[in-house]
């Protein structure tokens, strides 16, 4: 797409999410041997800066389903956490028409509580009333396929089971903007089909969906546009087939170099 095309498109289409020059820099303590005047006495702590996302900009329009691909550690999750407003970008900003809801694999709610109670807490935190959540609970349980285990604490669930429950909680209502971070890759074949159908349904009811996945197949099945991040830089953005082809070529090349 040329800049001219983009300008034309921008006039006619309604933007939903605008990512404007987002930089995310983490400051972390790493144990390293390098000494400086602060830790010369034998302490091994040094402050390191990790530049996870580098000046990424893009605009998402109504009705699009965006796939995000990239190798491990390429900044996908960091970027989406800032789209969801859970991490403030170091520079730049994200604008959205509604509050995006993030659903990630790492997101453990309350491991010591039962699935039922996690459904209740999740629903309340998303802003539903107790009554509404209680009415939704059976459908959520059924969608997650956890009828037998819903009264057990979540710490006893397998990673696939808890991912299914989290997806079911977030997908229980139509969100204007939903971000799914590799949530489906842990589910089994049966659940994957059910959740992909639900995602298409949400996309059709004018919701915008972001999907991070390592499965090129499920990206091609559900997404209308693909963004490829590599080492924090936006490498490619456009038609799913083209971007995935280029990505496959890239990963193929790096693996032969390895």
């Amino acid at each position: 797409m040329t800049t001219n095309d983009q300008a034309v498109a921008a006039e006619t289409r309604q933007p939903v999410v605008v990512v404007d020059g987002v930089d995310i820099i983490y400051k972390v303590y790493a144990s390293g041997k390098r000494a400086n005047k602060w830790n010369a006495g034998g302490s091994k702590q040094t402050l390191r800066e990790v530049h996870a996302v580098k000046n990424v900009s893009f605009t998402v329009y109504q009705g699009e389903t965006i796939g995000i691909i990239g190798t491990n550690g390429s900044g996908k999750s960091s970027l989406l956490r800032s789209v969801a407003g859970l991490t403030q970008p170091t520079n730049g900003a994200v604008y959205a028409s509604a509050r995006p809801v993030l659903l990630g694999v790492g997101a453990v709610l309350m491991p010591s509580l039962s699935g039922e109670k996690n459904i209740m807490l999740g629903g309340l935190a998303m802003g539903y009333s107790k009554k509404e959540t209680a009415e939704l609970a059976p459908a959520i349980t059924e969608f997650a396929g956890l009828e037998e285990f819903i009264d057990l604490p979540m710490r006893t669930y397998s990673s696939g089971m808890s991912a299914r429950l989290r997806f079911a909680i977030a997908a229980s209502r139509n969100h204007d903007i939903l971000i799914i971070d590799e949530a489906l890759s842990v589910g089994d074949q049966q659940f994957r089909k059910r959740s992909e159908a639900r995602m298409r349904e949400m996309r059709d009811t004018a919701g915008t969906v972001f999907l991070v996945s390592h499965s090129i197949k499920s990206i091609l099945d559900t997404c209308s546009r693909v963004i490829w991040l590599e080492k924090g830089v936006l490498k490619m953005d456009g038609d799913p087939l083209e971007v995935c082809k280029a990505y496959n070529r890239y990963t193929g090349v790096t693996s032969t170099e390895d």
């Binding site: 407003g85 859970l86 604008y95 509050r99 990630g104 997101a107 709610l109 309350m110 604490p153």
Partner: protein, 291 residues
């Protein structure tokens, strides 16, 4: 037109932007059920893996009171304050509520990282929920305190009450309310400091211990500091002491609530939530960053 103007022209808002203070409070009020539910669930879960389960709510304060009663009763000997058991239990239970609110408030953001990272809601609900959780624990302690007060006030020689239940008792719920307000503010401040400088977590045990010894939990500050009126005047600004001493004045035979204590408690209960919520809200955008 730059991107920010383009976004604004289509009605898009910056994600994660801190809302104005009063709409923030409005949002907190709308999600109050979340804070309440979280605290009852956490409270249940805390005892779920023990054999005695919910009984710990009443067992723990009983053991606590018994231990302190035995140790300080023996150590202090004839220096025990008047009406010692009622004096001590009021001090121990109210202090454990306030220090509990401080400790669990401090860990409310850090300890609920899973919730903070996966769901967006006003973060101030977490320290508030930790105060509610302490309040749930306080009920069992208050019941135990009531029993102690009734027993110690009963004169077994002629089977009458020494200190009849009077109007002062009716005012005690007001003190509890003021104390909860004060603790909410305290928990919010502790939550923000600890989430930005985990160092506070290391100091908490010492802070609580010092507070325990300077708040007149098991001895009378007035007696100990009788020779130093200036020091006593300074110690009287200690909010822990104020709430404990005012409650004693209302509940325990032989102690009177002073107007000064009332004013101090009301002052703490008004000032702390205001400072606490403003201070906490200021950093709303940065909670949950894994720096």
């Amino acid at each position: 037109m730059n991107k920010a103007e383009y976004a604004a022209s289509h009605g898009l808002k910056r994600v994660g932007a801190r809302p104005p203070f009063f709409s923030y409070l409005g949002e907190v009020w709308r999600r109050r059920v979340f804070a309440w539910t979280l605290s009852t669930y956490t409270s249940e879960a805390a005892n779920a893996r023990t054999r005695l389960g919910r009984w710990w709510l009443i067992l723990l304060p009983t053991i606590q009171a018994g231990t302190y009663g035995l140790i300080f009763g023996l150590i202090l000997g004839s220096n025990r304050p008047h009406n010692f058991l009622a004096f001590l239990f009021t001090g121990v239970f109210l202090f454990s509520f306030m220090s509990g609110a401080f400790q669990s408030g401090a860990s409310s953001i850090v300890g609920n990282a899973g919730l903070v990272r996966s769901l967006s809601f006003p973060r101030i609900l977490l320290p508030l929920s930790s105060v509610i959780q302490q309040f749930i624990n306080l009920w069992a302690q208050l019941a135990l305190l009531l029993v102690t007060l009734l027993i110690t006030a009963f004169d077994f020689s002629n089977l009458t009450w020494q200190n009849p239940i009077d109007l002062d008792w009716a005012l005690f719920p007001v003190v509890v309310l003021l104390m909860v307000m004060f603790c909410s503010g305290l928990a919010m401040i502790a939550a923000r400091i600890n989430s930005q400088a985990r160092d506070l977590g290391k100091l908490i045990p010492f802070i609580t211990r010092i507070a325990f010894y300077v708040s007149g939990v098991f001895f009378s500050l007035e007696t100990v500091l009788a020779a130093w009126p200036t020091a006593l005047a300074i110690f009287e600004f200690n909010p822990f002491y104020d709430f404990i001493q005012l409650s004693r004045g209302l509940l325990v035979a032989g102690y009177e609530p002073s107007a000064k204590l009332w004013l101090l408690c009301i002052g703490w209960a008004v000032i702390m939530p205001i400072i606490g919520s403003l201070y906490f809200w200021k950093a709303e955008e940065v909670y949950g960053r894994d720096d």
